[in-house]
Subunit: 221 residues, 2 copies
């Protein structure tokens, strides 16, 4: 065949197929050969569009981060920020959107959690959060730490289901070894509500704790 008149592949098509493979069969199932087969081309064809598999993974990661809503940070001047009362609401809305985007693709979270690197969408996200917190009145050092701790919590909650981590087999939980886990085999059956409840409880607790600290901040000039 050699070069076709209209290209068989594009970066977009490759990224979409890679994400689907990762979602359905895990990060280990993504091989360049397997992905190429999925796209009905031969293995080396991908190297016309991405220099390495890592570069492809980077594109997949940034496409996921691009789904996170950042509109709550773009408030009109004067409406928020100046008095600082709106930052907890913005942080709450953002955290929910951030978690939803990541939890839709848990198998890619370990890659994404390595930080923004040079990925545009990840840098835009960091810029929006930090900028909003500083404008709301948080000192820059504290704003950095809040950005970090929110990422810790969100990536941790999207990385894996807590409930599904406990085998549904009651035999596992020998009362002599684990006296308090007698009901743990039921967790996996309530996966959605346990994970969602834990995320919401943690998010509200974090925001309450941060609000206490914000109130203790020395008055700004």
């Amino acid at each position: 065949m050699a070069r076709p008149r209209t290209p068989l592949l594009s970066r977009e098509r490759i990224v979409a197929a890679a994400l689907r493979l990762i979602d359905e069969e895990g990060l280990d199932a993504l091989s360049t050969r397997r992905l190429a087969t999925e796209l009905s081309v031969s293995g080396p064809s991908l190297y016309n569009h991405f220099a390495t598999k890592d570069e492809l993974l980077d594109a997949v990661v940034d496409s996921v981060i691009g789904e996170v809503d950042l509109s709550m940070f773009a408030t009109a001047e004067g409406e928020a920020g100046a008095d600082g009362t709106r930052w907890p609401e913005a942080l709450r809305d953002w955290a929910r959107s951030y978690r939803a985007a990541l939890a839709a693709h848990p198998n890619i979270v370990p890659v994404l959690a390595q930080g923004p690197g040079r990925r545009p969408n990840a840098l835009r996200l960091a810029d929006a959060v930090f900028g909003h917190l500083v404008e709301a009145g948080w000192p820059r050092g504290q704003a950095t730490r809040i950005g970090a701790l929110m990422r810790y919590f969100v990536t941790g909650s999207a990385l894996a289901s807590f409930a599904a981590g406990f085998p549904a087999d009651a035999e596992v939980y020998d009362a002599a070894d684990y006296p308090h886990l007698g009901e743990a085999h039921r967790l996996a059956g309530h996966r959605g509500s346990v994970d969602e409840g834990a995320f919401e409880t943690g998010l509200e607790a974090l925001l309450d704790g941060l609000a206490l600290r914000f109130a203790r901040l020395p008055a700004r000039s």
Copy 2:
């Protein structure tokens, strides 16, 4: 050589070598052949001690979790628990030990974050936390969620450095694209204090937020 009079390998030696390889070169650098070479045996020898590479990884993970201190949950009857005032201190001490154990081996955290599975040390940890919270007066459903959200936060904070995720190259942060990230290239240089500060801020905020909820709990009989 065939079978030597005294075995060349043991599960312990294999696990230790695997963890060192993962720490020094990453999860992808752990191959059965590479590990065997490191241990001066041939590749298939490992299969006399572990059925699969996954079983070996499980053992590595559980050895890391075994380093987490759980002694704060084993308080004497009456000294704590009954009045419930000691749970925030126990949770704080445990979270710090948990994070320290994981952050010493960040490359294995994605595996470990999948949940306890059938690993004894991971199940013991879950049992100790849940048991302590219930005895302190938390309803069982809430205790489950607190165990989950603490794991979210700790694994998220140990998975990767926040500060090191930002390239130290100032060229990355074009002011037109990222107006608030002008100083982000300095983050990696303060990696320790940023990550530690974010973890401590988040931990205290979480504990404060949870204490507010504990105070609102209906009185127990």
